[in-house]
């Protein structure tokens, strides 16, 4: 029997922050292949800083961070981590099609002098289709709804076939109908075995997709377990705060 594959993400006593000042610290977290983890927490709790730390966008200040068994700083191919940022504009002040935006997800995979190959173009169409936008591949992204634009960013992250997808608030500011489509896209990805970590405020939109919850508050992990366990944890928290208030 071969040795078990290393976890997709493994943090031990990790701290991340900006300009040398930690925002989240003492984080122990292991994400295994195929897991879908929701990262919850109030505004300013450090959940986004944590996810950005895995992308090299916030500073890694202490502890161990390994992605796919390799220390983060030595990970040669960053596109193995797919990133879906929280964005209001997709391309800045110009027009661009869905396919043009999605194709940027492949750039880091090839040397600067090499143009896109046929395989690249096929990968772009496959990713656009996986995000449920096949009939809109040649649309100007400005004409899409907020939810569809979010799916363009998911397709851009998927196109390089990453080992893990990190998403920042994918359902925020998206109307109900598009949220349902978005959720079904996420569910399809989860069923296909995609490993995901989703920073979110709205757990209800991800019901049935998430199989683990990590709660971050005031810079520390305060809960790590199943959705059922999280409901119990919240109930206990509500009771204890109610008791304190009554006293």
């Amino acid at each position: 029997m071969s040795a078990p594959a290393p976890p997709v993400v493994e943090l031990r006593g990790a701290a991340f922050g900006y300009r040398g000042r930690p925002v989240v610290s003492d984080v122990d977290l292991t994400v295994r292949r195929g897991e879908v983890v929701a990262v919850l927490g109030p505004n300013g709790s450090g959940k986004t800083t944590l996810v950005k730390g895995l992308l090299g966008l916030s500073e890694h200040l202490s502890g161990q961070v390994e992605v796919l068994g390799t220390p983060l700083a030595r990970l040669p191919d960053r596109t193995r981590i797919g990133y879906v940022p929280q964005r209001h504009t997709l391309v800045g002040g110009v027009r661009a099609t869905v396919a043009e935006v999605v194709a940027t997800g492949l750039l880091a995979r090839r040397p600067w002098y090499r143009p896109a190959t046929r395989a690249d173009r096929e990968a772009v169409l496959a990713a656009v289709e996986a995000a449920g936008l096949a009939d809109r591949a040649r649309f100007d992204v400005e004409t899409l709804s907020g939810g569809q634009q979010r799916r363009v960013l998911i397709a851009r992250a998927l196109v390089a076939r990453p080992d893990v997808l990190l998403m920042d608030e994918p359902t925020a500011g998206v109307d109900r109908a598009s949220q349902d489509v978005l959720t079904s896209v996420l569910r399809r990805l989860a069923d296909a075995g995609t490993t995901m970590a989703i920073v979110t405020h709205e757990l209800s939109a991800l019901r049935g997709v998430v199989d683990r919850i990590v709660e971050v508050d005031t810079g520390h992990v305060t809960f790590d377990g199943t959705p059922e366990g999280y409901a119990v944890h919240q109930g206990a928290l509500a009771r204890s705060s109610g008791r304190t208030a009554a006293r």
Binding site: L55, G56, L57, D77, R78, T79, I81, Y83, P85, R87, L90, V91, G92, G93, V94, R95, A96, T97, E100, V101, A103, T104, G105, L107, A108, W112, Y113, A116, E129, G132, L133, A134, D135, R136, A137, R138, F139, D140, T143, S145, R156, A160, A177, S178, V181, R188
Partner: protein, 341 residues
């Protein structure tokens, strides 16, 4: 008209205009994308100091302007990358410092004579020498080559810097490269358009192209076409009407922008009126939505109650040649086909 081509300086002028018209919009589109439309102006100010140094030290002003503008460009990008609020003020210092130093140095070496200065500020295409023309040709070829090869990367970084960094692209290097390309464009264009108006040819054709296209690729092509039309057309018109070439080029570019805006508006209006529209519905078609997908040319239609639905902006278009007739009054209201052909 043909007399114009027999004049040596006009041939030079037309060639120089062609180079600028090609190169400037290709760099400019990334400045528009980054919403840094005015950076070309700033680098024009910096280049003026370089021109002054060249004149004062008896060196080729094109060369000294190139070095100064490129250095200025690198400094600007490094300041921006540090992301402090003082970056904005530092930019202002650099830009004003450039033009002030230019004026002071030129006055020191040429006394009260500022004729030379004016020729750089507003362009003086007729004084372009053969040697300078060769330099401009080489620099333009470099600009066009680099932007063509690196276009996908420059597009990615200008569109979403954070994502580009996360995916492992060398963001700072690409930003510095774009700034240096802008500086080189400024120097190539300074003889033709002048340092004060230089940014116009990088920005205005792109603004016009945005009105006429729905993709980055198409916008790029349109911008180059409109850029060459403005610059070469401007030189021809300025010869015929005996007007300043730089100003004429920019006015033509702006006129083309107005035309593009009107054309773009009319095209969108006509397209909206003549297409067959299916019902607005809350359901969004996609893989596994339960409706049969039918490939149709370059896109996919979805069969929905006998209608062929093709996504278009916020609704679905009817793509079948013979859509089934609506059955009852309430069906009619639900399907609300706008067949206005």
């Amino acid at each position: 008209m043909s007399a114009m081509f027999e004049l040596d300086f006009m041939r030079n002028a037309l060639l120089a205009a062609l180079f600028v018209g090609l190169a400037a919009p290709m760099v400019g589109i990334f400045l528009v994308q980054r919403r840094l439309s005015l950076i070309g102006d700033g680098l024009g100010h910096v280049a003026l100091a370089g021109v002054a140094i060249g004149i004062a030290t008896d060196r080729a002003p094109v060369l000294t302007a190139l070095v100064t503008a490129a250095l200025g460009a690198v400094v600007i990008e490094l300041l921006r990358a540090r992301g402090r609020t003082s970056g904005d003020l530092a930019l202002a210092m650099l830009f004003y410092g450039g033009i002030a130093a230019g004026v002071v140095i030129i006055n020191r070496s040429e006394g009260a004579q500022t004729g030379n200065l004016t020729s750089f500020l507003f362009g003086s295409i007729a004084t372009t020498t053969r040697g300078e023309l060769v330099t401009f040709a080489v620099l333009s070829a470099v600009i066009v080559g680099v932007t063509l090869v690196l276009r996908p990367r420059l597009f990615a970084v200008a569109g979403d810097e954070e994502y580009a960094r996360a995916s492992g692209l060398p963001v700072l290097a690409l930003n510095i490269l774009l700034a240096v390309l802008t500086a080189v464009t400024v120097v190539v264009a300074m003889r033709v358009i002048g340092l004060l108006l230089i940014s116009a040819l990088m920005i205005v054709p792109n603004a016009a192209a945005q009105q006429l296209s729905g993709s980055f690729r198409a916008a790029n092509l349109w911008a180059v076409v409109l850029g060459v039309l403005s610059s070469v057309g401007g030189v021809v018109v300025s010869y015929q009407l005996d007007t300043a070439s730089g100003g004429t080029i920019v006015l033509i570019a702006i006129a083309l922008f107005v035309v593009a805006m009107v054309v773009g508006h009319v095209v969108r209006l006509v397209a909206r009126r003549r297409h067959l529209r299916a019902e607005r519905h809350a359901h969004e078609h996609g893989p596994g939505c339960g409706h049969e997908a039918v490939p149709h040319g370059d896109h996919v239609d979805y069969l929905h109650d006998g209608h062929r639905h093709a996504a278009h902006e916020g609704h679905y278009d009817e793509h079948s040649d013979h859509p089934p007739p609506a059955e009852g009054p309430d069906q009619d209201a639900r399907h609300e086909q706008e067949v206005t052909r």
